[in-house]
Symmetry: C2
Subunit: 353 residues, 2 copies
DNA sequence: GTGAAAGCGCTAACAC
DNA sequence: GTGTTAGCGCTTTCAC
């Protein structure tokens, strides 16, 4: 097929051997030394207005782009951050992707790019990109309480930031939503409305079994708040299928006929859950008050709109990158940054019947 | 907080100034020239078994990792691929992420890493990473019929592969599911079962308005197959909310009381759609046969399990990387690779009433 | 089969 | 305020 078009492509050939424009070319064109070009570009020393403009004009005229490898080799900085996303079973992908997008966007604002690492290379993948100096620093997502990547991170000769945090966070920089208080605030909100028996419908059990930080801590907050407020707190994981929701909720209502409040921390089952409650004859919120821990847009898209605690993925991703940049510049950053939960009451919760 | 632990960290200090191990160190340790080490590692010339083993032993003993920037600078190859994912409204993120995962995994198999680019830098982001030699090649996802990135790709001094394909694909390498035939096969399957009036419930209208390739081509295949088979084909976009599904389907059933077959190409509304049909008193498949164009696991997770045409994201992502690697090695690759649709009948379709 | 040495394109002392 | 130059760590001729 490509042969058919050969005759239409002479214009690309005419450009001749496309030699790459180097800093030396720019220097020659502007009549200055290569280092001067470098300094104009980096702003690392003061340059006379006249020189600066001549150089900038030459850069534009020649279409100069600094070679990333040469720059990295000479400056010992690749200007690339690693983003480690293990796509584990049970995790809700859109939320992870919201973190990722935020990380990329923020990184670009600080003139960095993002290298994507997934799980299947294991912890040694972190060593590889770090020790080969492919990246300057790492953002690590979806951290488990006893994460095998954590000891690796500790030994790495470069800064890293965790989104989420492990049991043993000493010496690490961690950023997360305060899930303990998120769980607690849900209990408080429902208890304030007079509910005395509240269930937490959680993530798939695999997520708890891995001791994933956020699920674990939400549970802890839920449990202790229920105790503190003297209400019954029921906890159950839930798989991401319609049947699982049907069965889990059915059993919940059977065993706890006095249940009037639910907290769901499992985005993909929110739709099915509302459907199941309807089928089982429980109106939301008249018979059952429902809260979600999820992104605001998800909560608002439901019928009725759900009272929720938001997951501020954008802010967390941004904060992660900004902490990393600060560390790269030699600044101290807090070992732990917890974003306070933000609860928005909507139509899915009301006073207990 | 970090001060509290100062006393516990002497072991890290004791290691002294952690100088980086270079190829010269390895050469010295093994008693050979640096170039020999390089050749042992690259396999680009034959080395005596004895020398090879001494070098490999030294590499292990010193924990040597080649510096990526130095290697890239000298060899003119960064061994990094760019993955361009514009996260546009209406796209189903888990599917995109499945492509991305497959790209990363395959890239690693060919000893490459993946740099993540999102939309917000625009087409100039492609120029930036290409012209700075940050990457060797690009994988571009979510291609529109008239995509502004396409002219940029044509002028770039490096290979690229599109997942999806634009209206004017000349000179480009494109890989995709054959969505035209996917749409047609759905119509054929339903028509073979005796259905005479079939609706396509599509993606949000924004996706069509952008002229996104896959949605556009599915529609074309659906339309021409309906014509060819002499059945009524009804087409409607659908937003990703429960209300939209309720309204769209309600209207569809009102206006086309003879409708007995539906094709849905919009993953997030599959659950709500089944719910809506139930509410409106249509049993699946007895009253309404339903087909989906979606990942197999999504189809199998529904109740009833859905007859579907699969989106082979893993294979497509893998093929994209393999084509790119081939191009990097100077091989010719097909301008267009279309994966044939694979239709699996399940419980959601049966003979027309 | 192996070594010596010339770059790759840039940054950052060090000069003046 | 600007120029000179010595590397950064590796690959790859060229020479033997």
């Amino acid at each position: 097929m490509s042969k058919r078009f050969d005759l239409q492509l002479p214009s690309r050939r005419q450009e001749g051997p496309t030699t790459v424009v180097t800093i030396a070319d720019v220097a020659r064109h502007a009549g200055v030394a290569p280092s001067t070009v470098s300094y104009v570009l980096s702003g690392k020393r003061s340059i006379s207005g006249d020189t600066r403009e001549r150089v900038q004009a030459s850069v534009r005229a020649l279409g100069y782009r600094p070679n990333a490898s040469a720059r990295a080799l000479a400056s010992n900085r690749s200007n690339v951050l690693a983003l480690v996303i293990p796509l584990r079973t049970g995790m809700h992908v859109p939320v992870l992707m919201q973190f990722a997008t935020s990380v990329v966007t923020t990184a670009r604002r600080y003139d960095h790019d993002v290298l994507l690492l997934t799980a299947d290379e294991g912890p040694s993948g972190l060593e590889r990109v770090a020790q080969s100096a492919l990246v300057d620093a790492l953002v690590v997502m979806d951290v488990e309480l006893h994460d095998e990547r954590v000891p690796v991170l500790r030994e790495l000769p470069m800064p890293s930031v965790l989104i989420g945090f492990p049991a043993e966070a000493e010496g690490l920089t961690c950023i997360d939503l305060d899930f303990v208080n998120a769980g607690a605030e849900c209990v408080d909100h429902l208890t304030d409305l007079g509910h005395r028996s509240i269930a937490l419908l959680g993530t798939p059990s695999a997520v708890y079994e891995r001791q994933t930080g956020f699920a674990h801590r939400t549970l802890a907050g839920f449990r202790s708040a229920a105790e503190r407020r003297g209400v019954t707190g029921i906890e159950t994981p839930c798989e991401n299928t319609f049947e699982a929701v049907l069965e889990t909720v059915g059993q919940l209502l059977d065993e706890h006929p006095d249940l009037t409040g639910m907290v769901v921390q499992n985005e993909p089952i929110i739709g099915p859950l509302l459907d199941v409650l309807r089928r089982l004859g429980r109106r939301v919120p008249e018979d059952m008050s429902l809260m979600a821990i999820c992104a605001d847009d998800v909560a608002e898209r439901q019928v009725p709109q759900l009272s929720s605690v938001a997951i501020p993925a954008d802010e967390i991703g941004q904060q992660a990158v900004e902490s990393l940049i600060a560390k790269l510049e030699g600044h101290e950053v807090p070992a732990l940054t917890l974003f306070p939960p933000r609860l928005t009451p909507r139509a899915s919760t009301c006073a207990a019947p």
